[in-house]
């Protein structure tokens, strides 16, 4: 049954993947100038040898009709061939995967920290609805949503790196080299990501918890004589976590943008940093590759959330 549901969901992804790739393919067309020169990174009147030019022209298949060009490109992309980076002279996918490692630490760490903040926070705000606690936490949510990430990051640098000198302002150390130094470097960027995501998750957690508290099963549990703590933190929270789970999954697209900004502020060498650098060096193969990579990441995570959801709650599969 789960197999069938998974297959069905994957089949449903086909139109989505078509649309996404078409958008990326055509977005690349808006680059002004000769696409061959653009793809070679030779935008500002640089000289390119005839052979290199013709090889790229052939690769892009520019003599072919647009639809053939697209299909050719798509089949390459689906085989993991995102082209050759203009600056790094190697496979774009390789460049991206290498930078994905630091990004993965930041994303996973940020999400975990966000959930640790948001779930108890949301529950507290809901239980103490319309009290000082609720106002305090709701205030946190509003600030978290309103304060632009890059500014929050700079203020964090100002306080923790410049004034207090507790943490390094920028950079990255690989965990296998020096784990403590890795933690020091990742602490600030991870906290900024976490606070930002936590604000949104807390908001939904609070709302969902409030709604759950009015359900019949809560009344039943109370009527059974269970203590309020058990009712709220065990029964209600368990049901409400389903929503949290979905919300966290839905944050994936937003998270990619967030990562890009945070990595830029902290000079953190992940794929967001790579994206900005490639824009600066006009390495459009990598720009295209990173955008595609991020979109596929969003699609895959959402698929996983959907499937995991049905594992937790089998009713969904049947509807």
């Amino acid at each position: 049954m789960l197999m069938r549901y998974t297959t069905m969901r994957i089949v449903q992804l086909i139109p989505l993947i078509l649309v996404v790739t078409i958008v990326v393919f055509f977005v690349m067309m808006i680059v002004p100038g000769d696409p061959v020169m653009v793809m070679l990174g030779a935008v500002d009147g640089a000289q390119v040898s005839r052979e290199v030019y013709d090889a790229m022209r052939l690769r892009l298949g520019l003599d072919q009709p647009l639809i053939v060009q697209y299909l050719h490109w798509l089949s390459n992309v689906l085989q993991g061939d995102l082209g050759t980076s203009i600056t790094y002279r190697t496979s774009a996918l390789e460049v991206i995967l290498l930078r994905m490692v630091p990004t993965a630490y930041l994303m996973v760490g940020g999400l975990i920290l966000a959930v640790i903040i948001a779930v108890p926070g949301g529950v507290l705000a809901a239980i103490h609805n319309k009290t000082k606690w609720d106002h305090l936490l709701t205030g946190f949510v509003v600030l978290g949503i309103s304060v632009p990430t890059f500014w929050l990051a700079l203020v964090a640098v100002l306080i923790f790196a410049v004034y207090l000198g507790w943490l390094p302002a920028i950079g990255y150390t690989r965990p296998q080299e020096d784990f403590l130094d890795f933690l020091k470097h990742i602490a600030l960027p991870m906290s900024v990501v976490a606070l930002n995501i936590a604000a949104t998750v807390l908001r939904f957690q609070r709302q969902d918890f409030l709604e759950q508290m009015n359900q019949d099963y809560v009344r039943t549990a109370r009527a059974k004589g269970l203590t309020e703590t058990v009712v709220l933190w065990k029964h209600v929270l368990r049901n409400s976590l389903m929503t949290t789970f979905t919300v966290v999954g839905l944050q994936m697209a937003y998270l990619s943008g967030l990562i890009t900004i945070v990595e830029s502020v902290f000079n953190y060498p992940g794929i967001g940093y790579l994206l900005l650098n490639s824009i600066r060096t006009r390495d459009f193969i990598v720009v295209q590759g990173v955008v595609l990579f991020m979109v596929f990441l969003v699609i895959i995570v959402n698929l996983l959330v959907d499937i995991l959801y049905t594992v937790i709650d089998p009713r969904i599969r049947y509807s």
Binding site: N129, I145, P148, L158, A253, I279, R280
Partner: protein, 305 residues
Amino acid sequence: MEAHSTNAATVFEPPAVQSPRISRSIVAFAARDRRFIVGVILLVLYIFISLIGSSISPYDLNAPNLDVRMQAPSSAHWLGTDRIGRDVLTRIIAGSQVSLQVAVGAVVMALILGAPLGALGGYIGGTFDALVQRVMEGIMAFPSLVLALALVALAGPSVVALWFAIAFSSVPRYARLIRSGVLTQKEREYVDAARAMGQSPLRILFRQILPNIMAPIAVQLAQDFARAITVEASLSYLGLGLSVPYISWGTMIRDAQDFLELAPWLAIFPGLALAGVILAFTFVGDALRDQMDPRLRASLTRRLA
């Protein structure tokens, strides 16, 4: 026939006439919300300042004044001066114009592109609707900031490019909102009646359906303004926004980050301006949404009872 239809129109008009009253009641409700009041005051101030522009300041916007470089806030320069002695407050006022200009354009463009797609999809249905839906889902899979970033990076920064880049990922939100509005409203009796009277689909859409879905659209607009302003500032911060002579709060913060230790006010005040405006839109949007959401209202009243 002519007279007859006018007659019928007066009979069947009530829903359309009634709906402004509904939205008015929402506004009346929201006016009791402190967030709504604070938000509106901040927004009025923001729009007022950006309309007047930096000409109210005694200081020149761009001319360097090396005698007063990097001065901390003082009575002469309320928010300090930057690395070449320009008045920060004057530049923040000028920056409000760019953020407003970009945000209004982006939101209007998203609405113009999204609304007809949603309305047509909902109205026509079938293959066309399915196709539009798939395209919208595809666009929604993109991280909006990353997409905007790539678009601006490729097309080069200009006001129109920014409008489009920021609007692009909002298009599906309007398309979906209006589509679902059309779908729920089109089976209603008053729409049947209007159709029976021979009103054109466009007239039905504008006169009958649209007034009934104004409230969710208003919430979406508030959220989108906040988002557009954030994205514009973020792009400028990343060095991909409008360059001189435009002054963006994001660019100001970008320029300030090298002087965080020496002159923190350079980064702090433009950031506060930005946060204030985004906060204002968030407040207004939240207040409107809370008044609209019957579930939330019900659960609150139930708890209070």
